[in-house]
Amino acid sequence: MIRVQEADFDLGAEVAKLKAGRSDIGAIVVFLGTVRDCAGRVKEMTLEHYPAMTEAELARIETEANARWPLQASLIVHRTGRLLPGDNIVLVATASEHRDAAFAAAEFLMDYLKTSAPFWKRESGPEGSHWVSADARDASARARWKAAKDAAE
């Protein structure tokens, strides 16, 4: 399941919905990304996105994760608009019988989301505001899944 929204989300409620009425799930992994104030340098963050593409891209990523691992449920919720330090940005949750698949799929979803989903962060603080630069570590993090897939083929 994919959701892009301005409103906050409730991590506990989202996980409860994921496992409601189910007793076949053994492992749930949740990733929660939040706004860091970076020692006071960030007072506000604005998340712009490309609506028509965002949902398509997130759905594509989720489909790919489900093709790679035996997931019983998965969820991506991403916020847009104006956020403050400490605010929730993104929630990814994966459920599987065993923890290895749930962990791997959650990491995969985050690595792909970070490098493919059309969101852009603008940070504002006492020193002005700027668009956040892409982090080269995200590209490396994504690359390892490609290698893992090639090795398995």
Binding site: Y50, A56, V90, P118, F119, W120
Partner: protein, 83 residues
Amino acid sequence: MRLLYFAWVREKTGVAAEDIDLPAGIATVGDLMAWLKTRGVGFADAFARTDVVRAAIDQTHARHDAKLAGAREIAFFPPVTGG
């Protein structure tokens, strides 16, 4: 053809969305970027370093050598920074 610009590409061009008639001889995303660069100071600035501008054709990531034939919506944006 509809063109969309996001984040600092939008800020530099001063345009969020526009409809254009593609000039003759423009076959790829890269061709389009080279042409956009000639449309004034803002566009020249936005596309000064085309290696850091990403593109999507009809809501799908596209390389700079991707063909535009049949495309309805082209978007230009910086490397993504969500999550």
